[in-house]
């Protein structure tokens, strides 16, 4: 008899333990990087969905029905901000019928808002191409940015799910410790890369270059978001032939055509970088993203 009751009580306890897991915070991340970060920090207390994959250009994403459905049930939207997702995220938020994720709500988080951005234009005009008034939004390739964003995201998770605050703080502290250690490792390994001259496609490696001290000598896009004309490419060949860069950087989502053409003309290797979690088989999570980025960059210097 007592044995039975004990079993029932233990069952109830089990249910009690299971219940919060069922009520996991639903996180809609706009990129695989924020999805990976939310998973690192939230563990099994969060249920994370990434709106995009590493092969998509986050400027150009469809406000697909599946994403509207995810926005409807989300407790937290983790976006890049700085108008990177301006062409599609507002539609998801507006169509969601979900007050919790409206901008300025605790359920709406922008990574870029936690940082001071690079490339903040002193004036903006669309003749300058796809410029972002608040600064360059491609912030994920500097691990120090990730650390700051992780701090703020941990705080936000604790606000949204106060019962799990201790859990998030513990995970956050653990992540920060591992992350700072990894940064030390990456920076030591990447020391030979300092001063490496690179050509980029879009201005989306700015934070990587800034972090590792790479020297960006040219961009294949004449202006952000503007594809190069034949004339511009010819000019670039002339300019770069005179002083060839060590390497051309390409992101997983970029088209290979213009890059390979230019690489052939000036006889410089192209390095395909993951750019986002999932962009290469090795970039399985945020640690893998930086490990692989540095491995691939170091590969060119050997």
């Amino acid at each position: 008899m007592l044995h039975r009751i004990a079993r029932i009580l233990s069952l109830a306890v089990c249910l009690g333990v299971i219940a919060p897991a069922e009520a996991a915070l639903k996180v809609l991340a706009t990129t695989p990087d924020w999805a990976a970060l939310a998973t690192e920090l939230g563990g099994d207390h969060v249920n994370v969905y990434s709106a995009t994959n590493a092969f998509q250009d986050v400027h150009r994403v469809e406000a697909k029905p599946s994403l509207v459905a995810r926005a409807r049930s989300a407790d937290l939207v983790v976006a890049t901000g700085a108008e990177l997702e301006v062409g599609w995220l507002p539609v998801l938020v507006q169509e969601s019928g979900n007050a919790h994720i409206q901008p300025a709500s605790p359920g709406y988080f922008e990574a870029a808002a936690q940082l001071r951005l690079l490339d903040v234009p002193s004036s903006v005009d669309r003749s300058m191409g796809d410029v972002h008034p608040q600064g360059n939004p491609h912030v994920q390739l500097d691990p120090h940015n990730i650390a700051s964003i992780a701090q703020a995201l941990t705080a936000r998770l604790s606000v949204l799910d106060p019962a799990g605050a201790a859990y998030y703080q513990a995970r956050g502290a653990d992540f920060q410790a591992r992350w700072q250690q990894a940064i030390g490792r990456w920076e030591a390994r990447a020391a030979p890369l300092k001063g490496l001259s690179v050509v980029v496609i879009h201005k989306d490696q700015v934070y990587l270059c800034h972090w590792l001290g790479l020297r960006e000598v040219a961009a294949i896009e004449p202006k952000p978001g503007v594809p190069p004309s034949a004339g511009y490419l010819a000019e670039l060949v002339t300019k770069l032939s005179a002083a060839p860069p060590r390497v051309i950087l390409r992101n997983a989502y970029n088209d290979t055509k213009a890059v390979e053409w230019l690489a052939g003309k000036i006889n410089v290797p192209v390095v395909a970088l993951p750019f986002s979690v999932g962009g290469t088989p090795e970039a399985k999570d945020l640690f893998g993203l930086f490990d692989d980025t540095i491995n691939r960059l170091l590969g060119t210097t050997r």
Partner: protein, 464 residues
């Protein structure tokens, strides 16, 4: 033994759960109030922590090899240049559109054979250079509860109209959204797509014949999204129904309404789709249209009764890994079927004789747009209409000959349209379109239209 088990469970349920629920309610209210407060200071703490972390990591780096130039601390929130009054200005955007049309037939003679004319928005528009609709949109959150949007349309004839002027809720949860004012009805796929986002210069023939091109509603709309990973949206709306196929009514209360349902999902990374069904119900009172009598004089006939339209729509989009930069494919089809039931009065000015009237008509289009290289797209559309079955009481009982209603003579208008467009950026598009238009049934209209679309101001976000 079994009994004790059940009693134990019942006790657990009876004692524990209701208390839990009651407490949960109180807790929820308290918690949401607390959360508001917490959010404020936690974000400040977070900012401070971030700064500390940054400083720590910088000092850690300083001791390690080759420190990068230190990043400054987090920025204070941008914009809001205090006191100038501009911080709260709504987002503003302007769309400019214009075209050059070369038409083999006089557009004044345009009609869709077998269908009651639906208003001004039918046909390819005038010949030669045309200033299209210039749209000005102002939109912003009103307060924490509502969002408002005004789209004013300036037509080539210097008239300004409120294309859309609506409010929408932002504070509802559980998937509910309420919209009110003037807005494009939620029926079909293309109906609530703004003209500058169309894949062709003009609307499908079925939209021109059944919805007067694009149906706006002055009323209210309620939408609900299901809490599922598959997109399931249900909507209902009602309003004054004074646009074709309805008419203005003098009485109180709404004129009909619409219900619609949409479902959608992804298939892998590369394919997404949406499908829907809509039902539009309207009443028309003396909805007049021009026709010719047996001796070629213009007469006004008028329909009164119910007009009910079914719409089924399906859209599929493909892009490798969901990245449309290089290649994209968009397939789209809609089927519309309308039943009108009531009375038809012949020659309201003179003969003014009426009889019963019933017609069942249908139409569809199917189109594909293919992005074959960055910035370039081409598309093909096929339109088909069936004037269906029409019973005109005045003809059936021998009062008037069939020839008294030339517009209602059986016909199956069709059209083939090809387009090519080039978008130098997200904000500009140049398009060429060629159509073989057999809407008149008597003669084929060959239409070449060149169009430009420019967008300035706030970056708009486009619906699926």
């Amino acid at each position: 033994m079994k009994l004790t088990t059940w009693i134990a469970i019942a006790m657990l349920l009876a004692s524990g759960l209701p208390a839990e629920i009651a407490r949960a309610d109180d807790l929820a209210t308290l918690r949401s109030e607390l959360n508001g407060l917490k959010f404020e200071y936690q974000s400040r703490i977070a900012a401070l922590e971030a700064r500390i972390a940054q400083l720590e990591s910088q000092s850690a780096i300083a001791s390690a090899a080759s420190p990068p130039p230190p990043l400054p601390p987090p920025a204070s929130p941008p914009a809001s240049a205090g006191g100038t009054g501009t911080a709260f200005n709504p987002a503003m955007s302007v769309i400019l559109a214009g075209s050059y049309a070369h038409l083999s037939e006089d557009p004044a003679s345009y009609r869709i054979a077998g269908f009651v004319p639906s208003g001004a928005d039918t046909g390819p528009g005038p010949r030669s250079f045309n200033l299209g609709e210039s749209e000005l949109t102002l939109a912003a959150n009103v307060d924490p509860y509502f969002y408002a949007n005004l789209t004013a349309s300036v037509a080539a004839d210097n008239t300004i109209s409120a294309e859309e002027a609506y409010f929408r809720t932002t504070a509802l949860t559980n998937g509910f959204t309420v919209k009110g004012g003037r807005f494009f009805a939620g029926v079909g796929y293309l109906n609530d797509v703004h003209a500058h986002a169309w894949d062709f210069v003009d609307q499908p023939l079925a939209y021109q014949a059944f919805l007067g091109g694009q149906l706006a509603e002055d009323g209210v709309q309620l939408k609900w999204l299901a809490p599922t990973d598959t997109f399931i949206e249900l909507g209902v709306e009602t309003g004054n129904g004074d646009r074709f196929p309805g008419t203005h009514r003098t009485g109180n209360g709404p004129n009909g309404g619409a219900v619609f349902a949409h479902v959608g999902d992804d298939v892998g990374d590369s394919v997404s789709w949406r499908a829907g069904a809509s039902w539009l119900d309207r009443r028309a009172e003396n909805r007049g249209y021009l026709d010719e009598n047996a001796v070629g004089q213009t007469v006004v006939n008028a329909f009164s009764g119910t007009s009910r339209t079914w719409i089924v729509d399906a859209t599929l989009k493909w892009a490798p890994h969901g990245n449309p930069t290089l290649h994209l494919l968009k397939l789209q089809a809609e089927y519309l079927r309308r039943t009108e039931d009531g009375t038809l009065v012949y020659d309201t000015a003179e003969t003014n004789s009426g009889g019963d009237f019933r017609t069942v008509q249908s139409g569809w289009y199917v189109q594909g747009v293919y992005g074959f290289m960055p910035r370039w797209r081409t598309g093909l559309r096929y339109d088909y209409l069936d004037s269906g079955s029409t019973r005109i009481g005045l003809v059936a009982d021998g009062q008037l000959p069939t020839a008294a209603f030339p517009i209602l003579a059986a016909a199956s208008p069709r059209r083939v349209t090809w387009m090519l467009d080039w978008s130098p950026s997200e904000f500009s598009r140049l398009r060429a379109q060629y159509a073989w238009d057999d809407a008149r049934a008597t003669v084929r209209d060959r239409q070449l239209i060149l169009q430009y679309l420019y967008s300035i101001g706030a970056h708009g976000a486009h619906k699926y």
